[in-house]
Each structure stands twice: as C-alpha cells, then as structure tokens.
Amino acid sequence: MAAFGEVTAGRKWRWGVLDALVIALALVPVLWIVSLSFKTPQTLTDGRFIPREWTLENYRTIFTTGLFTRALINSIGIALIATAIAVLLGLLAAYAVARLNFPGKRTLVAVSLLIAMFPQVSLVSPLFEIERRLGLFDTWPGLILPYITFALPLAIYTQSAFFRQIPWDLEKAAKMDGATQGQAFRKVIAPLAAPGVVTSAILVFIFCWNDFLFAVSLTSTEASRTAPVALSFFTGESQFEDPTGSISAAAVVITIPIVIFVLLFQRRIVSGLTAGAVKG
C-alpha cells in the first residue's frame, strides 16, 4: 500500500476516473439542451442524445420573432444596472464593515444576513400591489429594485471579505502623507480592492441573470419581461407546433454568458463564494 500522500500512477488513475465522472455529471444536462437546440423538427422526438441532423433553424426562429430579442435586451439591461448599483452600495458598506468601528455595524451585518435568507416569495404579494400603485409594475426599475436588495448581502459579504485581506498600512501611509480618509480610499485602496469588486460583480450579475420568481411575478408584457420568463412562455407559431426547439435554442443563448464567466473567472467565483459565505 502506498504511503500517505504519495503520488502513484494508480492513485492518479483513480482520481482521473472520479474527475471524469464529476465532469460528465455536471455537463450532461447542459449538452443535452445544446443538442436539442440543433435538432431539426423531424428528429426532435427521436430521443437520441446526439442529433442525427444538425440545423441552425431554431436560432434563426428565436432571433427573427423579436419577442426573444426584446427579452434579451431587458435581461441584459436590468442585470447590468442592478449589478452596478448593488456593487457600488455594497462597496461603501463593505468598506465601513471591514475598516471602521461604529455602533450599528453588527446590526447591518445581521440585517444583510437576514435578507440573504429571506423567503423572496414573501415579498412577491406586497411588491405586486405596491408596484401596481406606484406605476412600477412591469417596468425595469420594478425589477431592478428587488434585485439590488437581494444582491446587497452578497455584495457586502464578498467585498468586505476581500477588503480584510488588503494591506491597510498603505492607507495609513497615505494618510501620513496628508491624504484624507476619502483620498486614501480612492487613490490607494480602490485599485487594490478591484479584484474583490469584480468578483462580487460577477456573482451579483449571475444572481440577477438567474432570477425567475420576481421576473415572472412583477412583469406582464415584453416591456420588462426577462429572457428566462420569455422562454418559459414560448409557444409554437401555431397551436400544433412544438416549441421545444426554440426553447432549447433560447436556453442555450442565455447560458452562454454564464459559461464565459465560469471559464474566465473560475478562481474568482470560487474564492468569492467561499469567502462571502463563511468568513462574512
């Protein structure tokens, strides 16, 4: 038997098999929807995992009908604006939480923890009524507002976790050189904090991009309906047409940004999620 921690060929093999199994389990459902999106209407119901005939027709359909394009624009716009605001507000609060001592700090951390665990569906009924009265129902701000709220805990946690690792002596040095707290923050700390901000922005964007509950409850037309909702309401062009191909194609399109993020920022996402969740 190999000694503890010794790297042998056999061990490598066993890990390799395990890894392959994990990767397959993680990717099969994604590959399946990709496969469906490339199938022709005739082969859609053949039950095969790999298409027999490939076609781009489904993609052409979703981008020519206009409904999906509009929803995609809504999704991108709403997610970007909500992310920008949530990350900015989170940044300010995270700096205070990581750096300053003031009464009420614990309360803020506790409140954001409560919101992270808040059952979002409990807000759906009152927000539906409030937004209807304020004229926010079925508008971009009507979705951006709840997104910011529920993204803020994530933004505060990840950023304050990153801020704690910054060498703050540099800030002290800058202040000794006559910089104010504000200047020290902008000129010295902000560049060092950038990785934390980027990480939190990615996580918040994924959260907004993913939301279905608010999007399906607080919108009613294409004015603000986001892509996940639009695709869940897809119907065929006629009553007898099966929307499976179009839905799959649309599903693949909204998965692309996620895959790009994961490929580019795997390390950051892992460290952001773990730092934010545990260290607070």
Binding site: P29, A93, F102, V121, N210, V216, L273, T274
Partner: protein, 321 residues
C-alpha cells in the same frame, strides 16, 4: 503635496506627558465621532434600500392578509381579521404544498450534504485536473435554473428525452405522476445546488491541517477514521453554515416546479402556491396570507438553526471583527 509631507510634528508630541494625555483623549473622541459618522454615511444607502424593499412590504403584506381583497372583485374589499388565515390553514392545498416543500427540502439537503462532501473532497484533493473539475462544477451553479429545468423536463419527456428512453422506453410520462415527478424535481434541485454546497464545505476542508492528517495516518488511522475523527470536527462550522444556507434556499423552491410540472398533480411548493393564488388567481388577500405564513416558517427554521448550533452560525461570533 510636498508641503503637507513636511508637516511639523504635532504639538502634542512635544508637549509634557500630562498635557499630552488630555489632548490625546480629546483628539481620539473627535476622531472616533468622525469614524462613526463615516461608517453610518457609508452604510446608509445599502441599509435604506434593504429596509425599504423588505421591511415595509412585509408589514404591508401583514395588513393585506387581514383583508378580503380579490383584484377581480375590488369592490368587495373589506377587513376580515384572521379569516384568510383560517381559510388557508384549514385548506388541503396549503398543507399539501407545505408537506411537498418540507419533503423536497429535507431530501435534497440531506443528499446534497453527502454528495457535496464527496465533491468537496474531490475538488480539494484530486491529483489531476483540479481546475477542470472546479470549472465544470461551477456550470450547474451558474446556469439559469429555468434552463436546467427545461433540460430535465425534455430529458424525461416520453419520445423526446434520452432519460425517458433509457428508463421506461417512453411508455409513461414520469412528470405526470406525483411520486416520480417529485423525484425528478428533487433530482434537478440536487444537480443544480450540490456544487454550492461543495464550495461551502471546501472552505471547511481548507482549514484541516495537513500535518494533523499525516500524524493520524502515521498513528494508523485509516481513511474513514481520518475523515470522521480529524476532518469532520474541524469542518463542523462550515457544515452548519452550508446546511443553514441550503435549507432556507431549498425551502423557497419555485423555478424547478414551475417548469417541470407547473404544480400539477399536487407537486406545488408553498412558493408555487403563492404565485398561483396571486398572479393567476389575482387574490391579494390570500396571496399575502401565504407570504406571511412562509415568512414565519422560514423565521422558525432560522431560529431553530441558530438556537441549536449557537455561535457556529454566521452573524454571531466571527462577524464582530
């Protein structure tokens, strides 16, 4: 800038010790007040947004839940006290949805804990392809839930799906029978959220000192003993955090059910039931009552977790720093 770097020594430095102490204290308290003010100023926007968008609507929904308020018959709106609660709590739909939600939560979190632990160990210790495994694992975490749900739905649709072909040959539709539909919902939930559980557990794994494991191995502890006696105790806080987060998250399940069954055949969760009453039934009174009940249920779960596990919960001890 240069002028300021050549600032003369503060007067207090040169002054005799007695005076310095007094002045120092005054400067400190003024500085502390400025620090408080800056802290409040920086936190105010985030705190305000969070409070306005959650606290006010929750109070408002308590008010709405005490009224008969159906948007299809707005003229019949009136204050009915706790009548809505009586209606809901004596109704089979609520208790069925509640049972379904609890079942999904308990089963999926339990399975995820085991699978997540395995996945965390793989991601942490694998000798080959660590980056590749982590990247692949993040796909289920990041993918839009609706997309994943459609993938599962089509996979189980007779005639279309590979899983339907593999299991029943497409003879029956598993999504139209309650037991199999619930199993598929749980499977989809597990696939989607195990990576998150694994990532949270991995932070715990990273805290296990390698030397301790080696020492245990030298003392003759097998892999299982090392896991139970050395790793698990160190990981306990991480495990509790992961369980808390995932339990409360699973309790909110909505997207998967919406796409997979639409709540048909008694597969509605409490979130799904609220949505149906509110958006399809347009019954604000009942919808708000459900909202309040779910809020109470989640508060009880969170309270039990904190009560049972005390300081291990986030937001207590370590948060203070």
């Amino acid at each position: 800038m240069t002028e300021e770097t050549y600032r003369p020594q503060p007067a207090a430095e040169a002054a005799p010790p007695a005076r310095r102490g007094r002045r120092g204290r005054r400067a400190l308290s003024a500085g502390r007040l400025a620090e408080w003010r800056l802290g409040w100023l920086l936190c105010a926007p985030a705190a305000l947004v969070m409070l306005i968008v959650t606290a006010y609507p929750i109070l408002y929904s308590i008010w709405l839940s005490l009224q008969r308020y159906d948007l299809r018959f707005p003229d019949d709106r009136e204050f009915v006290g706790l009548a809505n609660y009586a209606t809901v709590l004596t109704n089979g739909f609520w208790w069925n949805a509640f049972a379904v939600t609890v079942l999904i939560t308990v089963v999926s979190v339990a399975v995820e804990l085991v699978l997540g632990m395995g996945l965390a160990l793989i991601m942490h210790r694998t000798l080959v392809g660590r980056g590749l495994v982590r990247t692949a694992t993040l796909v289920p975490y990041g993918i839009v839930t609706v997309v994943a749900a459609f993938s599962w739905r089509y996979a189980w649709t007779p005639g279309t799906g590979y899983l339907a072909e593999l299991t029943t040959g497409g003879a029956t539709d598993p999504l139209t029978e309650r037991a199999s539909a619930l199993a598929i919902i749980i499977l989809a939930e597990i696939w989607k959220t195990t990576p998150f559980m694994a990532l949270l557990l991995m932070t715990g794994l990273a805290l296990v000192p390698e030397d301790l494991l080696k020492a245990a191995a030298v003392d003759g502890a097998g892999p299982w003993q090392r896991f139970v006696r050395v790793m698990l105790p160190v990981m306990k806080p991480a495990i509790l955090v992961a369980l808390l987060f995932r339990t409360l998250d699973a309790f909110r399940i909505f997207d998967h059910i919406f796409i997979l069954t639409g709540g048909a055949n008694e597969t509605s969760s409490v979130s799904m039931l609220t949505y149906t009453n509110l958006i399809q039934g347009l019954n604000l009174g009942i919808g708000s009552t459900l909202s309040v009940l779910i809020f109470i249920a989640v508060a009880i779960i969170a309270f039990l977790f904190v009560k049972l596990f005390g300081t291990a919960a986030p937001g207590s001890a370590q948060e203070a720093g």
